[in-house]
């Protein structure tokens, strides 16, 4: 067991973690933040994407202990004061989700992509979301939503 300090959605946690615990399971099972989904076992699908110190990270590729001292934002921490984050709002407005399973990861990846300034046009948005799979939407409306949230629509 390793003592690990995480700040998740602004709340500080001191956890005793097994070294093998993946960050995604720390979030889901230790902290009850089940908004972050698990969709694969090869770090391919991006359903588990969260922000670690502001950058999008697939939380199945990081051990919980590696995140010691990090500031983490999950989908649950995105909306503020009861208002959807602009990316969440754009997903709603553009029907960019169907079953919703990829949505938390997709939204977090989009937030990071827009913050990096790389969401410049359709092509860069498509490339930027390459690591996040969706099986329902064909990405058409996701790309539109991200472009709108980035002010590029």
């Amino acid at each position: 067991m390793r003592r690990t300090a995480l700040t998740v959605n602004g709340i500080r946690h001191q956890l005793e973690l097994e070294p093998r615990e993946l960050l995604v399971y720390v979030l889901r099972e230790r902290l009850g933040l089940t908004g972050t989904n698990v969709g694969c076992d090869t770090s391919s699908c991006g359903a588990c994407t969260v922000l670690v110190d502001g950058e999008s990270v697939k939380s199945c590729t990081v051990l919980g202990v590696q995140a010691d001292g990090a500031e983490i934002t999950t989908i649950e921490g995105l909306a503020a004061n009861g208002e959807l984050h602009p990316v969440q709002q754009a997903f709603h407005d553009h029907h960019a989700l169907q079953c919703g399973y990829c949505t938390p990861g997709m939204v977090m990846a989009a937030v990071s992509l827009i913050a990096s300034g790389e969401a410049k046009d359709e092509e860069s948005i498509r490339r930027g979301l390459e690591g996040n799979l969706c099986r329902c939407t064909g990405y058409h409306n996701i790309v539109e939503a991200v472009a709108a949230a980035a002010g590029k629509a």
Binding site: T34, V38, C45, Q88, H95, L97, Y101, C102, V107
Partner: protein
């Protein structure tokens, strides 16, 4: 609904479902964490075919946190019936019984052998690795065509054959008719195994309740059917089982089944007296959840010299996989009546041979039987056009069905459609001349990157279907759907539906229908579904049936509400019921429109019950069950434009234009979303996806790192248009839309790849048109 009544139907109402999903508050099965839960892990066979000689669980039992370990033999008596198959397509279909865990023999890689139950996911997985199973490998057969031949290794030795059934539909004097064609083209196609890959893998939680009841949460499309069949398989009264489908993260047919883990969780939850939870891993999903397709088809078209198609013959070998799952043998039949597509072809012959192989069982995957038919037809239409020296669109136009209702040679009746209109609209949008000019210029320059355009004009039958027809083709259940509307005293409406959405937006669409019919805002309608304690009856969601059948049931319930409300209002206003006009939720007295009362008002009056007509029961609620009189018949015209790098074989989609006729559209946002997703799965089939087995039956690409589910980077945005011919066999003209894109897209894309390379002599490419296949086709054409 007349035009004047429509305020919300047809409008792009944003989805009610989105809020919790966007906030990370989805209720997917893996998010259920009940006190005292034990986690189940399944020990699976690494062999595709082997005799089990011993199973040693001692080491696993001794592991930290392990609560119990069971082998197939330990649980043999828990099963009162074999795993259910609801569609014995012929009287003599061979359906060898199989059970949630194998006992003597494993027949595909991933077949369950034992289960470990532990206090955590990690402990269960750790211990499962210590279950020692000794296997004696047996001969393996993977290829569906080879498996059907004499002398092939047998999946089920006791049957003496791998053929489960042969099913045939043929018009009279067919052989003479096809032989009389001026031109006959014959093509052979392979449609590979597809892994559905819903983003949420499957998952199950079974909680034993006091008194012997069990609550089963499952990531399923079919809570109602599941309840019936889990109860029957375990020999428990149906009343003792409650099934809940919480938020389900996509399915596409892969969660339309009764799976081993659902039966195991209920059986072991009862044995242990504790909740049992199992959540599938992705690479486990690749072997333990059904696959789609795996068809080999020979298709023949006979035509006159001037392009009138006279006969079509399809000879199909369809892989069942190792066992028959819920509707495995029926999947080919779901396409059996549409091998002639939107074309008037008088002579018709379809033969399906269902074949066992040592692979994951196949079953429904988006389109189920219809993409298999449309693909071979639309590919062969291009081949026939080439043979005839005729323009491929002119050939299609010469054969379109134009008179409706149309009785087709396969025996069914298409209520309505307009295939020319869809193709006309497609060509208005496409700029075919521009694309062909670009193609010509690239060819003249000898560019490495060539361009091609491919078409698919299609129809399909969905809704699945009139119960009588389902009975006639030996399906075990009916095709009806049911809905209840409760008008609550405060002027809001509660809907209970038997459909089971998992991304399709029924809560929103059903609210729009009720809002228009009964006069309220969609936000005033609550839609309940997916819990057999709340929605006690229904036949769930698959086959694009929810709006064509479930939506019609809802509309019928609304009509019953209006009938009763009319009597209440007439009584309250002291007029005859015949003197009332009704529009959009309001009754008004003919000639004195200021005298009026709403359905909401009638709901209060029915609740208070102070002044109802003599003998009328208080309350305003109605249930209607709707059995459709016909299948639903969407259609349309799609075009794909691809750019192919002739040096590398890489084919990229440049444009995709789809014109679909799905009748009345309730919510264009949702309909477009269904088409986007459907097209994408068809494109993926055409260019990227293929479950690859080696000759020993190992699935060699069973992860998302090796099986290419396309990302946003592989795809363009889509150009969607609609034409509208209303379904005359539906109360408000709607047709199904969930599968159209998948059905139409694959042949359009492969036809486009072939078109891009036609000047090099390439006439065929098997799908998926991967860079290697495309490159080889180019090289072979050079020979």
């Amino acid at each position: 609904m007349s035009a004047t009544e429509t305020r919300f139907v047809g409008a792009p109402v944003k989805r009610k479902e989105d809020g919790p999903l966007l906030a990370g508050r989805g209720t997917y099965v893996d998010n259920i964490d009940l006190p005292g839960t034990v986690v189940m892990a399944v020990v699976r066979s690494p062999y595709a075919h082997a005799r089990i000689t011993s199973v040693d669980v001692a080491a696993a039992r001794g592991c930290e946190g392990v609560v119990a370990v069971f082998t197939g033999a330990d649980l043999r008596d828990d099963w009162k019936a074999a795993m259910p198959c609801a569609w014995p397509v012929t009287e003599d279909m061979k359906n060898p019984p199989h059970y949630p865990l194998a006992v003597d023999e494993v027949k595909y890689q991933g077949d369950g052998v034992a289960v470990v139950l532990a206090d955590s996911r990690a402990h269960a997985i750790d211990a499962a690795e210590l279950v020692e199973v000794e296997y004696e490998p047996l001969p393996v057969v993977v290829d569906v065509a080879a498996a059907a031949e004499d002398g092939a290794p047998l999946v089920h030795e006791e049957l003496g054959t791998n053929v489960s059934y042969v099913w045939k539909l043929e018009t009279d004097a067919f052989d003479a008719a096809i032989a009389a064609g001026d031109v006959v083209v014959k093509r052979r196609y392979y449609q590979p195994p597809l892994i559905p890959n819903a983003m949420e893998p499957r998952g199950v939680v079974a909680r034993p309740e006091p008194g012997g009841d069990v609550t089963l949460w499952s990531a399923t499309q079919i809570p109602h059917i599941l309840r019936v069949l889990v109860a029957a398989t375990l020999g428990m009264p149906e009343t003792k089982l409650r099934v809940i489908a919480p938020d389900v993260g996509g399915a596409f047919g892969s969660k339309l089944d009764v799976y081993a883990e659902e039966l195991l969780a209920v059986a072991l939850g009862r044995r242990l007296g504790r909740p049992v939870k199992w959540v599938e891993e992705r690479s486990e999903n690749a072997v333990a959840t059904i696959h789609g397709r795996d068809f080999v088809t020979e298709l023949e078209l006979a035509a006159t010299k001037d392009g009138k198609i006279t006969a079509i013959r399809a000879n199909v070998h369809a892989s069942m996989g190792a066992y028959l799952q819920l509707v495995t043998p029926g999947i080919p039949l779901l396409g059996a009546w549409i091998y002639a597509g939107p074309y008037a072809i008088p002579h018709y012959s379809v033969t399906f041979t269902g074949v066992f192989t040592n692979t994951t069982p196949t079953d429904a995957y988006r389109g189920a039987g219809r993409p298999e038919a449309t693909y071979v037809l639309e590919r062969t239409m291009d081949a026939l056009a080439l043979e005839l020296g005729m323009d491929r669109l002119e050939l299609r136009r010469r054969n379109f069905i134009t008179e409706f209702p149309a009785q087709i040679a396969s025996g069914l009746t298409i209520d309505n459609g307009d295939y020319h209109a869809s193709l006309d609209r497609l060509l208005e949008v496409l700029d075919l001349d521009g694309i062909q000019a670009d193609q010509k210029a690239r060819r003249e320059r000898g560019d490495a990157k060539q361009i091609g355009v491919g078409f698919s004009t299609y129809n399909e039958m969905c809704g699945l279907a009139p119960s009588r027809i389902l009975g006639a083709i030996r399906y075990a259940a009916g095709g009806w759907e049911t809905a209840t509307i409760r008008c609550l005293p405060t002027g809001t409406f509660q809907v209970v539906t038997g459909t089971s959405p998992h991304g399709q937006g029924h809560e929103t669409a059903w609210s729009q229908i009720v809002a228009d019919q009964l006069g309220c805002d969609p936000s005033e309608v609550e839609v309940l579904h997916g819990d057999t304690s709340i929605s006690h009856a229904g036949l769930d969601t698959y086959g694009s049936r929810s709006l064509p059948v479930g939506g019609a049931a809802l509309f019928s319930a609304g009509k019953k509400i209006i009938e009763k409300a009319r009597d209440i209002v007439a009584h309250q206003l002291e007029v005859s019921a015949d003197d009332l006009d009704y529009e959009a939720g309001t009754f008004s007295v003919k000639g004195s429109p200021d005298k009026s009362m709403t359905v909401k008002g009638a709901a209060w009056a029915a609740f208070a019950a102070h002044n109802l007509p003599d003998g009328m029961e208080p309350g305003l609620e109605a249930t209607a069950t709707y059995d459709p009189p016909n299948f639903s018949w969407p259609g349309g015209a799609h075009a794909a434009v691809v750019e192919v790098d002739t040096d590398t074989g890489d084919a990229r989609l440049v444009r995709y234009v789809a014109v679909d006729d799905v009748g009345t559209v309730v919510n264009p946002l949702i309909v477009d979303g269904q088409v986007h997703g459907g097209i994408t799965q068809g494109i993926a089939t055409a260019l990227y996806e293929e479950g690859l087995y080696d000759e020993d039956g190992n699935l060699t690409n069973g992860t998302l790192a090796t099986y290419l589910v396309p990302s946003a980077a592989e795809l363009p945005s889509y150009e969607l248009e609609r034409t509208e011919s209303k379904a005359t066999d539906h109360p408000f003209g709607a047709k199904g839309v969930g599968e159209t894109g998948t059905i139409a897209a694959a042949p359009a894309v492969v036809n486009a790849v072939v078109d891009a390379l036609s000047h090099l002599g390439v006439t065929d490419i098997q799908m998926p048109a991967t860079p290697e296949r495309v490159w080889r086709a180019i090289e072979e054409a050079k020979q």
